[in-house]
Amino acid sequence: MNHSFNWGRFWLISIPFIWLLVFFLLPFIIVVKMSLSDMANAMPPYVPTLDLTQGWSSLMEYLKQLDFENYSFLMDDELYVLSYLSSLKIALISTFLTLLVGYPLAYGMAKMPEKWRPILLMMVILPFWTSFLIRVYSWIGILKGDGLLNSTLMALGLINEPLVIMNTTTAVYIGIVYSYLPFLVLPLYATLEKIDHSLLEAAADLGASPMKAFWQITFPMSLPGVVAGAFLVFIPAMGEFVIPDLLGGSETLMIGKTLWEEFFGNRDWPLASAVAVALLLLLVIPILFFQRMQEKQQEANS
């Protein structure tokens, strides 16, 4: 056995780590630092600022001025708690709706003759070729009062009054389900496609009707894909800003929007930073849970 240090492997692994260090961890530390500061009418708009030219004593002086005031404010003003809860609710409901749309889609794809599957997969990925922002924007054209949807339905005589969807939470749900559908379909399809067809034959052979076989074999075996897909929808939906901003109305309360308001509207960078840090901590819980699931899954497969 060769136990000498493998420099090639070290450098290969260190590249993504250095990348994450410079572009994720360092900015995050700056945000944490900012969240412990106080708002000020200055440039940058917070105090204290760190001046390292004065040496060790000034660093200690600086650290003394930091406090958790912004975090306690998050708890005091119910706007923030409500935003978090509302985001949680919207993320949960849209994840469920995406699952409702995505599961039959992924299932259908996995059941298609093999030669059709690459084309169908392509069609799921195709929307990514257009900018996310433009795709959400175009939903305005569909959903607004005199938009595509309403004019079509009225021309068909199905409705007399235009439906009010634009600037409601319903529009936000539509936007999230549409935007994040591929993130759910792809891992779910990968799981469903791997299920050995002979298992379903065995189930039928033992007397299970197709419906029973689905609920006893296919669905439980697809759960890892369901969980993976659901988290890939839930986590970004939780902090979503663009969709509620463009499609939602004033009633739609989401933490991403609140954060944006604090940052650009109120120019309260420290409070906005505190909101961001709190959001991240809240998301760490489901992310850790997700990783545990994946590890368990890998153990089961080995």
Binding site: D196, S198, L199, E201, A202, A203, A204, D205, L206, G207, A208, S209, K212, Q216, I217, P220, M221, A300
Partner: protein
């Protein structure tokens, strides 16, 4: 392969010879086509209750297709499949009183051993107590009681195979289909399991249909073997008949080792027929098949029917002279490859009754190869 298989010591069981017997399963002019490819070609066969029926053939001969049609996973392109006289072609697989043990075992990976075995009973809506009782019985039958709570991936290959068997037997099917059930096991375990399958089938009084490409396995377990080729059954008979009286070169060649010799029938002399090989001597032949003078046939002779000796054998048998070209020693037997005067090679197998160092035949030795008048089977093409 030297021993004649096991049909002798049992009581004679041959319902296929009794015209009054009703078959359990009847394939009636069944054809299955995939596009231009004919997997099963106008096949008619009866399978009787308590039979252990083997479908034997190379891959692509249609044996698995036949089994899958019986299970209901494939529909015949034409023809009917009858069970107890009733056409089952339209009955979906989940409504047929037939269970199958899959080649891949197809165990449900997310269920425990006990849940796997109880799956079929659960579908019937049996109560939990009933299911548990039957599952316990099955676990005992396949000796897997300590493993009831394990998942399939925590079992060895042999244990998985037992779970698959227990699961397919749990509903006491009228007919059990086994698709290459022992393919994944090593030789020792395979032989052990073959005998277990046989005693299980006999004790439970079930009908088994097994698909295999392993001729030894088919010989060991089955009451009848159907040798298949390109979608047809070339010969359907007991293992002993298939081995001793193959009806074609294909069957003779597929089951065990065989030497072929092309000869012309010269004349009949009482019970004996005199034949002549183009390049060798005249031989005598005693056979039940009815050969005409002048006809060209193939003689099929099993290697173990030959006797190899250095001394000239007695006159009441056929013999040729040759040189030992190669010896394949396999412990219990040795196979001598004897090069004859005309350049052809015969394979002769002799039991090693004595220790190797005491045996006197070795490479390059001139030897006689002898066989009795009844040893050769004449085959038309």
């Amino acid at each position: 392969m030297a021993d004649t298989p096991t049909s002798e010591p049992r009581k004679v069981f041959a319902p296929w010879l009794d015209p009054n017997q009703k078959p359990l399963v009847r394939f009636e002019n069944v054809t299955k086509k995939y596009g231009d490819y004919t997997a099963v070609d106008n096949l008619t066969i009866d399978i009787f209750e308590r039979e252990f029926f083997a479908l034997l053939g190379p891959s692509g001969c249609g044996k698995t297709t036949l089994l899958r049609m019986l299970a209901g996973f494939e529909q015949p392109t034409s023809g009917r499949i009858l069970m107890n006289g009733e056409d089952i072609s339209k009955i979906p697989p989940n409504k047929r009183p037939i269970n199958m043990m899959f080649q891949s075992y197809a165990l449900f990976p997310h269920m425990t051993v006990a849940q796997n075995i109880g799956f079929g009973l659960k579908q019937e809506g049996k109560s939990k107590a009933e299911i548990d009782k039957r599952v316990d019985e099955m676990l005992k039958l396949v000796q897997l009681e300590p493993f009831a709570k394990r998942k399939p991936h925590q079992l060895s290959g042999g244990q998985r195979q037992r779970v698959a068997l227990a699961r397919s037997l749990a509903k006491s099917p009228k007919l059990l289909l086994l698709d290459e059930p022992l393919g994944a096991l090593d030789k020792k375990l395979r032989e052990k399991t073959q005998f277990e399958l046989m005693s299980l089938q006999e004790n439970l009084g079930l009908t088994f249909m097994i698909v295999t490409h392993d001729q030894e396995e088919a010989m060991t377990v089955s009451s009848r073997i159907a040798v298949m080729d390109k979608g047809i059954m070339v010969q359907v008979d007991t293992p002993a008949e298939i081995y001793e009286a193959p009806n074609s070169r294909y069957v003779a060649d597929f089951i065990g080792d065989v030497n072929f010799m092309e000869v012309e029938v010269l004349r009949h002399e009482g019970a004996q027929i005199i034949v002549k090989s183009a390049t060798l001597n005249e031989f005598k032949l005693e056979t039940d098949s009815d050969l005409k003078d002048g006809e060209k046939v193939w003689l099929a002779i099993r290697p173990e029917k030959f006797i190899v000796s250095k001394e000239k054998p007695s006159d009441d048998q056929n013999m040729v002279q040759g040189k030992v070209w190669d010896i394949a020693y396999s412990g219990d037997t040795s196979t001598y490859h004897v090069r004859l005067e005309d350049g052809t090679t015969l394979k002769a197998q002799m039991a090693n009754r004595r220790r190797v160092r005491n045996r006197d035949i070795t490479w390059e030795d001139p030897v006689w190869v002898a066989w009795s008048y009844r040893a050769a089977v004449p085959l038309r093409n």
